[in-house]
């Protein structure tokens, strides 16, 4: 049953990859795409595929996978179906930290990923501390998260107002888009994706037990505080690395894990890989739409993910109840 669905998600991700490489100002057929990637190392098609579309597609896929798995982890750890790195402020934490570096210390740009991770982790800890009252309660998590998110976003806006002369670099970062993303961005995000996804797959069984509640999980022999901290850190790493590369891209971390949960069930051993595949596919296809729909004008991919994702999410929700 679950395996069957994971095959679907794999098919979706592969289709997304091919569509994203194929469509654009220059239409390229699927054999030509594969030919340009693996065989023919020169010519205009190779130029377009190798230098523009392929790296951009890979960045889209990795960012989508990171955000989706991050959302799946956070929803489990915080025991709240609305926990999404964007909504509860973990992305804003990464964003604020990144913008601080870009605006105040522009010569330290290479520090953006680690500092963004610390920002994401700081936001996660802050949400946790605010929501903690002898235990974690889903409603308090979301309220604390929304508060933290607004607070940190205010920080970002404030910085951009005070240093309006230096925002050009930061704006790129904030917009939540994939335009001009290339191989350096792939290299920036890829290690985090590999590490984060591998670590989350290893922790999947533990998260399954953690969602049964602290008392039960502890009784079963789980080191609850430690495992929750590890999982939160993985979620923060995944979200922060995505934010570093594509900026504040919302909705993916919320919609993808939910869709997967409704289709394959809540077992994290299937939820994580399926979310990664669906997240990758969703962002690749959304980005294709973002750059072609109003061509030559590109629109931020976040608009597409929200416009595609929200109605689909509502449809799934209504079908279930």
């Amino acid at each position: 049953m679950e395996g069957f669905h994971v095959a679907y998600f794999r098919f979706f991700a592969v289709s997304g990859f091919l569509i994203s490489n194929s469509i654009g100002t220059m239409e390229i057929s699927i054999p030509d795409i594969l030919n340009a990637i693996f065989v023919k190392k020169e010519g205009p098609i190779r130029q377009v595929i190798w230098n523009i579309r392929l790296p951009r597609t890979i960045v889209a896929a990795l960012a989508g996978a990171n955000l989706a798995v991050s959302g799946a982890i956070l929803q489990g750890v915080m025991r709240n179906p609305l926990a999404d790195p964007h909504i509860i402020g973990i992305s804003s934490g990464a964003g604020l930290a990144g913008v601080i570096i870009l605006i105040l210390f522009p010569h330290l740009t290479y520090l953006v990923p680690p500092v963004a991770f610390m920002g994401a982790m700081g936001a996660a800890v802050m949400i946790y501390a605010l929501a903690w009252k002898g235990g974690i309660q889903p409603l308090r998590v979301i309220l604390a998260g929304v508060a933290v998110s607004s607070f940190l976003s205010a920080g970002i806006s404030g910085l951009m107002v005070f240093y309006s002369d230096r925002v050009s670099g930061a704006l790129m970062f904030m917009a939540g888009g994939l335009s001009a993303r290339s191989w350096p961005h792939v290299r920036m995000i890829l290690p985090y994706t590999i590490f984060g996804c591998a670590a989350s797959f290893i922790m999947a069984e533990k998260l399954n037990i953690l969602v049964l509640g602290d008392d039960i999980a502890k009784g079963l022999g789980l080191n609850v505080e430690m495992d929750r901290l590890i999982l939160t850190a993985i979620g923060a790493i995944l979200a922060a690395s995505a934010v570093c590369v594509v900026g504040l891209l919302g909705f993916v971390g919320l919609i993808v894990p939910h869709t997967v949960r409704l289709l394959t069930g809540s077992d994290h051993r299937f939820l994580f890989p399926a979310s990664a595949l669906l997240g990758a596919g969703l962002v690749m296809i959304s980005d294709t739409l973002a750059r072609t729909l109003f061509s030559p004008q590109e629109i931020p991919v976040g608009i597409i993910t929200a416009a595609l994702g929200a109605p689909f999410f509502l449809f799934l929700l209504r079908r279930e109840r």
């Binding site: 290893i202 069984e205 399954n208 037990i209 969602v211 049964l212 509640g213 602290d214 008392d215 039960i216 502890k218 009784g219 079963l220 022999g221 789980l222 080191n223 069930g265 809540s266 077992d267």
Partner: protein, 263 residues
């Protein structure tokens, strides 16, 4: 050792409020001990303390002659299984999967299920009569079946001690008896020591070897049902006037509340 669990001079403060005020309790190995008392008397807190879910302000708890804090998390889970009063799980999880979680403490993270895990899970499902429901998802079960699934999970831990917080709450009377008979059966057949909080005093008297009555964070009385269930104790602790008779099968005390006691 006659006693599996010994609580010595336990004090617990929560938010500067005394919840438990100097409790000494010994729980017999291989027996069923029920803790009863009015709402807010500290029953659940005692269970949570024994399961290491609450820190003591003072005093110690020994399990098998060793302080409970000296056990590793997994080592403790191999000896003690705990079911809290409210437990939720995803609706779509299969019963067998839930029961498999009971094996967590016995497994290494890099290894899947061993033959032993599978056979213990099968045994746990068999014991609770849930084997026919093994592939059903939790959301499709009745309250009584759900509770049996959770007890199966606890059994899969292969514990010496089973701790249950009001295992019959929210169940219809028939399911209540079904669960209590199952607990009795597990105790007699598998020799599992049981400590539980029960709301129903008559059920506690019927199914327990020992009863501890808790009032305002102190042990008011403890001993066999015959010793502790009497009109004086019930008036003092619960504030009700009662008639006591003895049931026809085992001679256990049965009470019938008449009216609120005038103080």
């Amino acid at each position: 050792m006659m006693y599996l669990v010994e609580v010595k001079n336990m004090h617990i403060l929560l938010k500067n409020k005394k919840i438990i005020d100097g409790i000494n309790l010994k729980f017999l190995r291989g027996k069923i001990t029920s803790i009863i008392g009015p709402n807010g008397s500290g029953k659940t807190t005692i269970l949570r303390a024994i399961c290491r879910n609450i820190k003591l302000s003072q005093g110690t708890i020994d399990l098998d002659g060793k302080d409970i804090s000296s056990y590793s998390t997994k080592g403790f889970a191999k000896k003690v299984a705990f079911l809290s009063q409210n437990h939720e799980c995803p609706e779509d999880i299969a019963v067998r999967e839930l029961v498999r979680y009971g094996r967590y403490a016995h497994k290494s993270w890099w290894r899947g299920d061993t033959k032993e895990d599978d056979s213990v899970v099968g045994w746990a499902l068999e014991m609770t009569g849930m084997i026919d429901f093994a592939e059903r998802s939790m959301g499709t079960l009745s309250g009584g079946e759900k509770q049996r699934a959770w007890i199966s999970m606890a059994l899969a831990q292969k514990p010496e001690l089973l701790i249950l917080d009001e295992p019959t709450t929210y169940l219809d009377i028939c399911y209540q008896l079904e669960i209590l008979e199952l607990i009795k059966h597990l105790n007699e057949k598998e020799g599992i020591t049981v400590i539980m909080v029960l709301h129903d005093i008559n059920q506690a008297a019927r199914f327990s070897d020992e009863i501890a009555i808790i009032k305002k964070g102190k042990v008011f009385a403890s001993g066999s049902p015959f010793d502790v269930i009497n009109t004086d104790n019930l008036r003092e602790v619960f504030g009700v006037e009662t008639d006591i008779t003895y049931d026809s099968s085992g001679g256990n005390p049965v009470f019938y509340p008449k009216c609120i006691a005038c103080s």
